[in-house]
């Protein structure tokens, strides 16, 4: 298919191939050329073979075809007369960022910063601009270090960036959240629920469970048990959620003071009356030490005590919205008692006080974080903004809110503002705990080069018509906010990738650079695409790129957040992100990590994957002994 003049301009350095049969003597123009984005497909099916000496599009536009040629044949020097100089064709391809000195022309972001190579002298960095005809810039080191640290490339290995005008930043702390940590190293059952030194006592479990069941008819049975770190090789049912135990001491959720227990987490598990696991399909039931990816933001940390609350829901309702919802709410009734006790605990027991500030950095690039959450078929729900951290009371389900974009402050997210019911595949589901320590939100808050405007939650409905409705609203938000950049993430994969693409387009089409984060690799290959999806970070950690049942294995971690922010800042500065390879290649990520580490001088800890878990091959003996 022939291309337009604009497309030709965007692909001046790509190979020139005739789209159709042309006669000798034809003055070559865009409409004679084949779309370069289709070349990989043609090459795969053997329709096209590009020789080493194939000319670039920039070289043939305005040149003359010296020989009658058929469609899909590459243009080489022997068949083209009057080969052009491609730099003459090149207008401003990219958004420009005027370099630091005033003498420079506004053109050409094609600047190669040499800071990474240490070409520094007399406290300035010498930059040479390739285009714009011999302009040389001397930029004060301080300014370029700001820009250079963020010029770390992306989906590929580009090293292009622009030095940026240092903005006048007006920093303002808009709200603060103080987290008081209480250490727990033992969980016991007793008469009264209380925090006794470093022991959490759960009082009168029978009464607690009875109360939970009374208020939630759909839950037929509920029980509380403890799994300690020395005995992780214990069986649990399908893990529905992992939750920190926290309560408000002062103020509303998202500000003020919150108390949290360290060393223990609530783990909600469940089945229906017939023993069928609650979960979509294949879930993370089994031995804890084989099925949990320790240390992920949304998982249990090794060394933590698990307070397991197991709910049994009415037969068959594990496939209905009300089943899991009932289980979560019933469990919350029990946790509420612990919250009450935590509120009463003495201040002297606080082991650590953490202050989390939400800063607006007015003057910096305005960046919105968008978290696309599941909103299909109502078993996938997130309860937004309960009264207590990770509670259920007072919260609204995103499905009930029409899946429309909801704005939260970063602190509301980190303070347990999301109670996740998401029953998608365990490897990519984001549990409640994930939001409590959301790596993207945490990294973005620390980033001094951007102004995080907020965190927008947007649901993913089932039907395409509804998806469009919702994405368009996100686009309008983006427009009204006047953004300079956005990061769009989604949990899981499937048809939510359709509106994931639409969400990126809704924002991107307003001229706002967007970076995406999602699980993709082999199993979650994106189903649709658009031109705004040119910078994506893959959450995959599993060795073979396949979704598995290891809890939280493929969720967003710090290393993904770091890459996404580096990519976004490269895009916002006018830098280029290299095209991805045709198929998933795990080395792309490793290359990016290398580049970022070199540019920032900071080591990035890579998260482990399921290969680090014990794989018991002898379970057959263990089980088959007493079958039947």
């Amino acid at each position: 298919m022939s291309i337009s003049v604009e497309t030709a301009k965007e692909h001046l350095n790509d190979p020139a191939v005739l789209c159709c049969r042309r006669e000798k003597g034809k003055l070559l123009e865009a409409s004679d050329l084949e779309d370069p984005t289709l070349f990989p497909d043609y090459e795969d099916s053997g329709l096209l073979e590009l020789p080493d000496n194939v000319l670039k599009i920039g070289q043939v536009l305005g040149a003359t075809l010296d020989k009658t040629m058929d469609a899909l044949l590459p243009l080489t020097p022997d068949v083209v007369d009057n080969i052009q100089d491609p730099s003459a064709q090149d207008d401003e391809e990219d958004t420009d960022n005027a370099p630091a000195t005033e003498d420079a022309t506004p053109a050409s972001p094609d600047v190669t910063a040499t800071v990474a190579n240490g070409n520094v002298s007399n406290g300035v960095v010498h930059l040479s601009v390739k285009e714009g005809k011999g302009i040389e810039l001397d930029v004060p080191l301080a300014m370029v270090n700001q820009g250079a640290v963020k010029n770390a490339p992306s989906a590929g290995e580009t090293k292009e960036t622009t030095s940026q005008q240092e903005p006048e930043v007006d920093e303002e702390v808009v709200r603060t959240l103080t987290r008081k940590h209480f250490k727990i190293d033992k969980v016991e059952f007793g008469d009264e629920t209380k925090i006794d030194g470093t022991t959490l006592v759960i009082g009168n479990t029978d009464e607690l469970c009875k109360e939970a069941l009374e208020n939630h008819e759909i839950v037929k049975d509920i029980s509380v048990s403890v799994i300690t770190p020395d005995d992780y090789h214990k069986y649990t049912n399908s893990i529905m959620d992992v939750q920190p135990i926290a309560t408000k001491e002062e103020g509303e959720l998202g500000e003020g003071v919150t108390r949290v227990l360290d060393g223990v987490v609530t783990v909600l598990t469940g089945t229906d009356e017939n023993g069928v696991q609650v979960g979509e399909f294949g879930s993370s039931e089994g031995y804890v030490d084989e099925n949990v990816m320790w240390g992920r933001p949304g998982a249990i940390d090794k060394g933590e005590i698990m307070l397991v609350i197991n709910a049994t829901v009415q037969a068959g309702t594990n496939r209905e919205r009300r089943g899991p919802r009932g289980a979560h709410e019933a469990a919350d009734t029990i946790v509420e008692h612990i919250r009450e006790a935590l509120k009463k605990a003495d201040d002297s027991l606080v082991v650590d006080t953490e202050k989390i500030e939400q800063k607006r950095r007015f003057g910096n690039k305005r960046v919105l974080l968008v978290k696309e959450i599941m909103g299909q078929g109502a078993m996938h729900d997130n309860l937004i903004l309960p009264k207590e951290p990770v509670g259920t009371l007072g919260a609204q389900a995103n499905v009930d809110l029409g899946n429309l974009p909801i704005m939260l402050s970063p602190l509301e997210v980190l303070d347990g503002g999301i109670h996740a019911l998401t029953c998608i595949g365990p490897a990519s589901k984001e549990t409640s705990r994930h939001y409590w320590r959301e790596p993207l939100v945490e990294e973005a808050l620390k980033d001094e080069d951007i102004d995080v405007v907020g965190v927008c939650l947007i649901g993913s409905p089932q039907a395409n018509t509804q998806k469009s409705y919702v994405s368009k609203r996100l686009g309008m938000w983006a427009e009204a906010m006047g953004l300079d950049g956005a990061i769009v993430t989604t949990e899981g994969f499937g048809n939510n990738h359709i509106d994931y693409g639409e969400n990126i387009e809704a924002i991107g089409s307003r001229g706002v650079p967007v970076v995406g984060i999602t699980y993709s690799a082999i199993q979650g290959e994106l189903v649709t695409g658009n031109k705004y999806m040119d910078a994506i970070v893959d959450n995959n950690k599993s060795k073979w790129g396949i979704e598995n049942e290891v809890l939280e294995n493929n969720t967003l971690c710090q290393e993904d957040a770091i890459r996404a922010l580096a990519m976004l800042e490269t895009k916002m500065a006018g830098g280029k992100i290299k095209k991805p390879e045709r198929k998933w290649n795990p080395n792309v990520k490793l290359n990016n990590i290398d580049l970022i580490e070199k540019a920032t001088g900071k080591k990035i800890e890579l998260a482990k994957n399921e290969q680090s878990l014990p794989m018991s091959k002898k379970r057959k003996e263990h089980y088959e002994k007493d079958v039947d």
Partner: protein
């Protein structure tokens, strides 16, 4: 970082018949909050898939036809995977236990 570089081969390389994918059609026989059940046309099987794996313009309805590409499933290894086998046995054991208890409860009444 070379020690971290993987000499990887994609899962798709494990498949010897990957290009046997062809169009299948089916009919939705049940829609619930979690999944959609589909009967293959030609009585060639049935499947129960999570809703997020179904592409649809409007909310799915029983009786609607669906189409998709599928290759013939290939057995990947001559050895059964012990981990899954173990989990399956364990599961069946539990289900059997629960069924027995239910039965006991019923006969008591």
């Amino acid at each position: 970082m070379t020690d971290k570089r993987m000499d990887y081969s994609s899962e798709i390389d494990k498949l010897k018949y990957s290009s046997t994918e062809r169009v299948f059609e089916g009919v939705i026989t049940e829609v619930n909050d979690v999944s959609v059940k589909i009967d293959f046309k030609g009585r060639m099987g049935k499947m129960d898939i999570p809703r997020r794996l179904l592409i649809t313009e409007y909310d799915p309805k029983v009786g609607e036809e669906v189409g998709w590409l599928m290759s013939y499933p290939e057995v990947l290894d001559t050895e059964a995977n012990q981990k899954y086998l173990g989990a399956l046995h364990e599961y069946k054991k539990r289900m059997a236990k629960i069924a027995k208890e239910k039965e006991k409860g019923r006969t008591k009444e």
